[in-house]
């Protein structure tokens, strides 16, 4: 097997054993990129020069015996996390020339852990989308079928891991933007508890929902990444001072006697039959691991999408007000006065989906509508959160499909925002409740498209989430396929 196809822990063994250098690993990844990137388009910007220099530095460290958790591991960054001195676009024309003078906290942490940054991965503009089609830099394609979307908004990050264009990557998840593309690209993707991973330097979409998390090739790699990413950050007020365990310890533990909750509300009509079958099989696998299956109810599930599409656009309408052409980013060339500068800059800088959500959000917060929309949505959000609190008194983890369908075709849903929004129907609730969730591959459709299963646990229970995911992964032993690119 080539180096770019391996997992973090496999590469770590090679590095320790002298079987591969960081430079060889980086070269393998970049030669893979040379071979497939023009077809997949995972990246907005590659950082080959920086990556090679970082790999050389990593090899020096390795020689000294100073091996950090990610030393020499090529990692892709969703272009929503700020990188000092390197353009960070958020997939938007309005930021196409923006160069941050600071690093996101996760970038600092990954760099300190020895990661080699491969590039800035493609994404839906401002993370608003479920297909990576709203990117101002063109869509990313699903490595399993280039006519299909990779999911979104972190589609570039998911595709890069699936296509061998990096070993692991960073995404952000506001309503499913890590878990849904992970499922559609056949990789592991985790959204940690809100407050677990610092949001400092993550360009905000909906601040109360956004959370950074990893894409990896297996659950153990996910634990390795979480060990680096998790932790309190004094630069972020909503970051939580909770103890961070060694997540790797949870890998390989059994789930004997666990109660796995199956929410009836998530097994609805309209789910693709192949997805439904694959997830039912996953339930069976979990039972065979010694867990008991309990039926639970999350009664407010049917309001999740509606609540999300009020709260997220409302916050976004405010978060995106700063892109006004005054201080950085795009400024229109032909404005006669201030009002025109604002209007034209934003008209030219934002794409259709971003404008749609700014308008929805502005409306939901307007005088006379606030109580009916934002106010009511916040109340229902509290009920959704309570649903989960109650559910977790009856079970240790919840199992659901990640996405109602496998990857759909490019352009299939671009003209129908509502259909697009329903792609996140099973993932949104975790963001609204702030709980962690993970998507793990659970099989393939007849046409060879990956399918994912989602596990959810209570707040700050990422360890137990990794435990159930890894126990499932091991027991399911889903066939190891690679996309034929």
């Amino acid at each position: 097997m080539e180096l770019h196809q391996l997992t973090i822990h496999e590469l770590q063994e090679k590095i320790r054993g002298g079987g591969a250098s960081a430079l060889q690993i980086a070269e393998s990844v970049f030669s893979r990129i040379d071979a497939v990137e023009d077809r997949v388009h995972s990246y907005i910007r590659l950082m080959k020069k920086e990556a090679m220099a970082a790999a050389v530095r990593a090899d020096e460290q390795i020689k000294k015996g100073d091996i950090q958790p990610l030393t020499g591991i090529p990692v892709a960054l969703k272009d929503i996390v700020c990188t000092q001195g390197i353009p960070t676009t958020c997939g938007s024309h309005i930021l196409h020339q923006f160069v941050p003078p600071y690093n996101a906290t996760v970038v600092e942490k990954l760099a300190a852990a020895g990661a080699v940054f491969v590039g800035k991965a493609n994404m839906d503009e401002f993370a608003m989308g479920s297909s990576t089609e709203t990117s101002s830099f063109g869509p990313t394609r699903n490595p399993w079928d280039l006519e299909r979307i990779p999911g979104g908004s972190s589609g570039g990050s998911a595709a890069a891991v699936a296509a061998g264009e990096c070993i692991a990557s960073i995404g952000s998840d506001t309503g499913g933007s890590i878990r849904q593309p992970a499922a559609l690209c056949g990789v592991v993707g985790m959204k940690p508890t809100y407050g677990r991973v610092s949001r400092f330097g993550l360009i905000a979409f909906a601040s109360s929902l956004d959370q950074i998390g990893p894409f990896t090739r297996d659950v153990e790699d996910c634990a390795i990444m979480m060990n680096v990413l998790a932790g309190y950050d004094p630069k972020e007020s909503t970051s939580v001072r909770a103890e961070v365990p060694d997540y790797r310890r949870f890998i390989g533990r059994d789930i004997q006697g666990w109660r796995i909750g199956i929410p009836g509300e998530y097994f609805i009509e309209g789910i693709d039959p192949e997805v439904s079958a694959a997830v039912r099989k996953a339930i069976e696998t979990v039972r065979q691991c010694g867990a008991s299956i309990v039926e639970i109810s999350l009664p407010h599930t049917r309001y999740c999408v509606a609540v999300y599409y009020i709260i997220a656009p409302a916050e976004a309408s405010s978060n995106l007000a700063r892109y006004d052409g005054v201080r950085y980013g795009l400024r229109t060339a032909d404005a006669r006065d201030l009002a025109e500068m604002y209007e034209k800059t934003r008209m030219q800088g934002f794409g259709a989906e971003v404008k749609r959500r700014i308008m929805i959000g502005t409306y939901a917060l307007s005088a006379g509508y606030y109580d009916a929309y934002y106010g009511k949505a916040s109340q229902v959000r509290a009920l959704i959160r309570r649903d989960f609190d109650e559910a977790f008194t009856k079970c240790d983890a919840i199992l659901t499909p990640t996405s109602p369908t496998p990857a759909f075709r490019l352009g299939e849903k671009t003209d129908d925002p509502l259909q697009m929004y329903l792609s996140d129907i099973f993932t949104i609730s975790a963001n609204l409740a702030g709980i962690p969730g993970i998507s793990v591959p659970c099989g393939f459709s007849a046409s060879g498209l990956p399918i994912g299963v989602q596990f959810l646990t209570g707040h700050f229970e990422e360890g137990r989430l990794l435990q159930v995911a890894s126990a499932y992964e091991k027991s399911a032993a889903v066939e190891k396929r690679r996309p034929s690119l």
Binding site: T88, G201, S237, S318, A321, R322, D324, V326, R327, Y370
Partner: protein, 476 residues
């Protein structure tokens, strides 16, 4: 028609923290443009606010000093609007859940003590400044002021006259400065006031249509603007015209209020809780700690001065108008034990010198110890009150001690009875005519002899002794 005036004031006070409310930038005034601005100040993508705890503590001090109830859980909210001096496109303020509510202040105006309610006190960030280029069609943005902490003190519409409004403002200002949480500089904008004003026929319950007044940068201007606006509204009502609800700007030179262009109003701020900040939780222990750290407030101190030092209310008012002045006075009293005399010297000479030089009491060259010593020297008769006037001027000019000045100038009072008697005898002898007239009943001539003695002694003679001796010797 007899009208009643209804006024409510909104005050913004900049807090004197070293750093800004949501980042570590300096709050210092007057630095070169944008030198105190970081990515948080600039509202760059992905950066986040972190609350400066000092801001909460300062705001709590003001809340407790104005009898407010502190909300155990208060929430920052975003006030959304576009303006180039507002980098994020929203101001972080407080809305539905402010820091404190339901306070009041006792205000005396027109000989009447009244309770003026305080609706709420909340924390927020200041905006930046625009600098317009007169020669170019361009404006520049200076973000040094962005994120400087403010508290907004929203008053109830309890004020009934422009004088009372000015007095309420003076009391608020005095407390802020006393607490050392605001420098109170109105010209630089660290203490700003907007006013809502309406009138209604006496006896009517409903409020009239109000106007909002802005751009008044002194207590005097607040009073003038309100007086103008009340007259304007009365004129409109009396002439059957309608008052329009609008924002009006005070024009100092013109002495009038004018409507603001309506385009600049009518905002829908779309307030909602700021998801980047957690609610501020204030427990009882924290409130108790802040309360325990509060200094004696001006009103309480005034009452204490009247009772403890037996000085007139007027004097107590002057001496407590500023915290440092009150402390200076108390130090002098402690050292000399003469409250009324100390009050006279502080209010008379010391303040006169300082006012002439536009200096604050903190910059006073006369140490409290020196002033106390000087009062002691008068009491023991070493110098006369008249000599003291000269001594204190010198103390102010040089910062020297009174004893040093007295020695240097040879100012010690002649209190030696024998020596003085000799001088008096010589004067009587040299003026036989006046002596005869005096003895013949022209008693006014006593003053002539006093003058002669003072002249001969260069004013150093103890006046009481001169009087006693002269009376005795002239009668002989």
């Amino acid at each position: 028609m007899d009208f009643e005036t209804i006024i409510g004031l909104e005050v913004h006070a900049q807090l004197l923290t070293d750093t800004k409310i949501f980042c570590n930038c300096s709050t210092k005034f007057g630095a070169s443009p944008n030198s105190h601005a970081c990515p948080v100040c600039l509202g760059m993508p992905g950066v986040l606010p972190v609350l400066n705890k000092k801001v909460v503590e300062y705001a709590m001090k003001m809340a407790l000093a104005t009898n407010c109830t502190i909300n155990p859980r208060n929430v920052f909210a975003r006030k959304n609007y576009f303006y180039p001096d507002l980098p994020k496109g929203y101001q972080i303020s407080q809305y539905a859940y402010p820091l404190a509510e339901h306070g009041y202040l006792m205000v005396e105006a027109n000989g009447e003590q009244r309770k003026i309610g305080i609706t709420r006190i909340h924390m927020e960030e200041d905006a930046g400044k625009l600098i317009h280029d007169d020669n170019n069609p361009a404006s520049y943005v200076d973000l040094n002021r962005t994120g400087v902490p403010l508290i907004e003190i929203v008053g109830e519409p309890d004020i009934r006259s422009p004088e009372e409004a000015a007095e309420y403002l003076r009391r608020l200002h005095e407390i802020l400065v006393y607490l050392e949480i605001c420098d109170g500089n109105m010209e630089e904008g660290s203490f700003r006031c907007d006013a809502n004003v309406s009138i209604r026929p006496k006896g009517q319950k409903e409020f009239g249509t109000r106007t909002e007044l802005k751009n008044m940068n002194s207590f005097r201007n607040v009073q003038r603007a309100l007086e103008y606006e009340v007259k304007r509204q009365q004129y409109l009502v009396e002439n059957g015209e309608k008052i329009i609800q609008e924002t009006r700007l005070w024009d100092d030179a013109q002495g009038a209020t004018n409507p603001m262009r309506s385009k600049e109003e009518a905002h829908d701020y779309r307030y909602f809780p700021d998801p980047d900040l957690v609610p501020v939780v204030v427990d009882e222990a924290w409130v108790a700690e802040i309360r325990a750290g509060l200094p004696e407030l001006p009103q309480a101190r005034r009452e204490r001065f009247v009772n403890e030092y037996q000085i007139p209310a007027y004097d107590a008012g002057v001496l407590t108008s500023e915290k440092a002045l009150a402390e200076y006075y108390e130090e002098v009293v402690k050292l000399c034990g003469r409250p009324k005399i100390a009050a006279n010297w502080v209010m008379g000479d010391v303040l006169k010198f300082l006012n002439e030089d536009k200096r604050s009491i903190r910059e006073c060259p006369i140490a409290a110890r020196s002033l106390a010593d000087m009062i002691g020297l008068i009491e023991e008769g070493t110098i006369s009150g008249k000599m003291a006037k000269e001594v204190i001027a010198d103390m102010y000019a040089t910062g020297k001690t009174p004893r040093g000045i007295i020695e240097e100038k040879g100012l010690v009072q002649i209190t030696d009875e024998g020596e003085l008697a000799k001088t008096i005898a010589a004067i009587i002898e040299a003026n036989p005519g006046q002596l005869a007239d005096y003895r013949g009943g022209k008693e006014k001539l006593f003053g002539f002899f006093v003058g002669q003695v003072m002249k001969a002694t260069q004013g150093k003679a103890n006046p009481k002794l001169v009087n006693d001796l002269l009376r005795k010797m002239l009668a002989e």
